[in-house]
Symmetry: C2
Subunit: 300 residues, 2 copies
């Protein structure tokens, strides 16, 4: 099985008001994930606020994570940027620091065409030599990959996998079938969007790129292992236990909720980068109450 299968856990990247990364806090989060034995760590994802960090700070975070993991757990590093030359440099940095793959989103300001995205991804893969995971995240990039474009990119040397946005079950299964028909057999099809990912993996997705997994890897691993062992009812039972959290992710965004959780549980005392605000007190109380009511099994 590829290192990219199973649970890829996406931690936050603690950093201060000036965007300076707290490398000790990064190490502590990475250690937690290595100890839990997640299949990979997705550093500097959207929840890791990569787009709000300079190239220098992204390097500092990644260096700390790679050193802490000490080859225990492969690290996928977010390498997205608005400019192609910047994404190339970030991917080169990630490779030289020791990331196992790069997660590349179609970050846009001016809306991009399919051809532009194809060229962007091809150039980054070619010029960095870093294995690239396509990051399809229309909620932040406002670009949606068609199956045809994924098919073209999946045949570019060095582009090895995709992180799709998981939708409701029927849609995801349909999308998965469309992609399967068009990509090489060893191209990995993974999902993010925690609330819909269990069903995406039950339906045949290879990887869960998980925000909750970055903070609570144990329950997320249990779900993934249950699916891998064919124990679908156990996976669905655990996923149902987490439903109140998925509801909060939808309502306030997973990013804001995990920042609040990390802070209130003293896992990392941080706030998201401005203009993103911490949850207001009323929402924070709701997160607190909801979390306290979850079965102990899921919050370990």
């Amino acid at each position: 099985m590829s290192f990219l299968s199973g649970l890829s856990a996406f931690p936050i990247t603690p950093n201060d008001r000036n965007g300076r990364v707290d490398t000790a806090a990064v190490r502590s989060l990475v250690a937690r994930l290595c100890t839990a034995r997640v299949d990979s760590i997705g550093l500097l994802g959207s929840t890791g606020t990569y787009m709000y960090l300079t190239r220098e700070e992204r390097c500092r975070a990644l260096e700390a994570a790679v050193e802490e993991s000490a080859n225990r757990t492969p690290i996928i590093a977010g390498v997205g940027a608005l400019r192609t030359d910047e994404a190339v440099k970030l991917a080169q940095d990630a490779k030289s620091i020791g990331a196992s793959a790069g997660l590349l989103a179609a970050v846009s300001y001016a809306p991009l065409t399919e051809e532009e995205v194809f060229e962007h991804f091809s150039v980054v893969a070619k010029e960095s030599g870093l294995p690239i995971v396509i990051y399809d995240n229309p909620g932040t990039t406002h670009f949606r990959f068609t199956p045809a474009l994924v098919g073209r990119l999946a045949n570019v040397p060095g582009i090895i996998a995709i992180k799709n946005p998981a939708e409701a079950r029927e849609e995801t299964l349909h999308h998965l079938a469309e992609l399967r028909a068009i990509v090489p057999a060893d191209f990995l099809l993974g999902y993010s969007g925690d609330g819909n990912s269990t069903e995406a993996l039950i339906g045949g997705g290879h990887t869960w790129y998980s925000v909750l997994g970055g903070l609570f890897p144990i329950v997320c691993l249990k779900i993934v292992r249950a699916i891998q062992q064919g124990n679908i009812s156990e996976a669905r039972r655990l996923d149902a236990d987490l439903a109140p959290l998925w509801q909060l992710f939808k309502q306030f965004s997973s990013l804001r909720v995990v920042y609040a959780l990390a802070d209130m549980l003293h896992i990392a005392r941080v706030e998201p980068p401005l203009p993103i605000l911490p949850l207001p007190p009323s929402a924070r109380r709701l997160v607190e109450v909801t979390f306290a009511r979850l079965p102990a099994e899921v919050t370990r």
Copy 2:
């Protein structure tokens, strides 16, 4: 009449493959606009690819423009950034270099809440002291300002105007009435989206923030002056002459079309920053043919 009324012309920012601004080309574009006597120049707007340029290069472009204009024409500088602290620094730069106002968009990666945008704009206005124009550009930022939010921001000291996206006539008139009911009388309501802006100004909008005006100021000024003098039929006649261009703007984006026009007319030999690609040959030919068929009056 405020310096922000009338025609605000938005030139491209010629820069090379490494994002290095060609200050001589910036000066030449600015000189062209000053000579035409546009009411203001919108440097580093979306068409000016501000989001693809570093702080240093934005400063170089603005310094060249301010020096070239030599107080002939007020300059509005794009100061948008993903991070609040960066937008503050860019606005401080713009003020110290001599911009008359800053154009601030709700640039986002993680989708922003109304409260976050309110805080972002308030902090930039307060900490820079630069008069701020709200840049409502959902096509690039994916944030849409509600009239209620505009009303709150219009009462923040230093926030003086808004650049709205012009829609079809009826929608724009409705939106304009909603805004009028909620903002102070001296808060300026302007529009961008060249194809719909003539009707927005006829309907009472104060300012046309124009992409075409950055390249062909004369015909755009004729339209604005006709409206200001009550000659609505003349404004509509000129606007109708430009309809084939507006169609190309819709089809290929105004940014890509003006880059192609600037290049093919030898006004500035440039390409947009990657990943944005120059128009493919077939589209470029269409732009060429369309442009050649426009009445001479509009392409001077």
